[in-house]
Symmetry: C2
Subunit: 215 residues, 2 copies
Amino acid sequence: MPERVTVWTYDWVPDGPRGYVRDLRLRWALEEAGIEYAVASVPLSDRGAEHFARQPFGQVPFLDDGDFRLFESGACLLHLAEKSEALMPRDAEGRADTLQWLVAGLNSVEMVTVPWWFIKISGTAENPLAGWMKQRFDRLEAVLTQREWLAASRFTIADILMSDVLRIPGDLGELESYAALKAYVARACSRPAFQKARRDQLAHFEAADAAGNRA
Amino acid sequence: MPERVTVWTYDWVPDGPRGYVRDLRLRWALEEAGIEYAVASVPLSDRGAEHFARQPFGQVPFLDDGDFRLFESGACLLHLAEKSEALMPRDAEGRADTLQWLVAGLNSVEMVTVPWWFIKISGTAENPLAGWMKQRFDRLEAVLTQREWLAASRFTIADILMSDVLRIPGDLGELESYAALKAYVARACSRPAFQKARRDQLAHFEAADAAGNRA
């Protein structure tokens, strides 16, 4: 009997990151694909050698799939996409299109949005990355004005990644002048698979509160 | 006859980025794999609709491979790696290990180093990303103290990506207290394929000077 896919996340996080921890990306993909999975936890507050052996930067998520072990949400999404056409087309062109847009999310957009957010919460008066982020959004707005999903004329893991990347600046009001980006994030987040993934993540951390993991 | 692989870069860049423009990553991989390729240029100064149609953020590199077109250096490296075992092992575990470390380069390390560099050259007195970058380097130092290459016990595209990511902070003196990271970058950059890729990039832009592209 094959072992079930297991998504690893933290045992507890404060209210702020709830609904945003990146295990959500894997939950979302697994829900889209209709693949059953388990969720397991590592301590947030006392990251031991076992955690660093699984994730060299001490982050989450990471994934077990039978004997298979993988870290980095982007890599895990590509791995899961091999399991289901719901996550990525099977033809070479569609796969390549999905791949390039997944990497664009990781390395052209999130490379700016996460450091921008990091600086913003540190309370710096003027965010030195604001202009760069605006440039990226301008370009992405031009793309998403003309299409519903990023790659291969359909929903793929590239959209799971990119819409999740855009949620944080969106929730902080940074997408107000980007109608296509706002509509894109809303479209992605209205998918039942996203809704369930988010509900399940919130429930995971609420259960941790109830268990007194760190309340 | 199959069309030759073509790497697209800018027609000219100022001295600063020479030797660092990301077409270098693709040149390097192609040299490692012994695959012949051509180099083509798009204007740096006047990026037209054709450029944005090929690369939605107006960046380089992008790749032609017959009818196949791809952007994002990380995605191009994964595509090239399918062509040659010199770039990635063929077994599932080795592939996954290469993939997770490639994505770690893109999304856990470069996500910090490039915004750090962006803020540094803008002349901000105190770089708000310095502490975060140090945390990433600390973790990576722990990994590279124990192994020669990141993934699959051998040189892969993950090393092309990660060592190229580390070159910029290294050249700016930020790796002085990281003996393993310094040695890793030196080891990667001593490879003949890197040397040739870098020489060829410099020659490309020198030829542009000579042609008066923007001198």
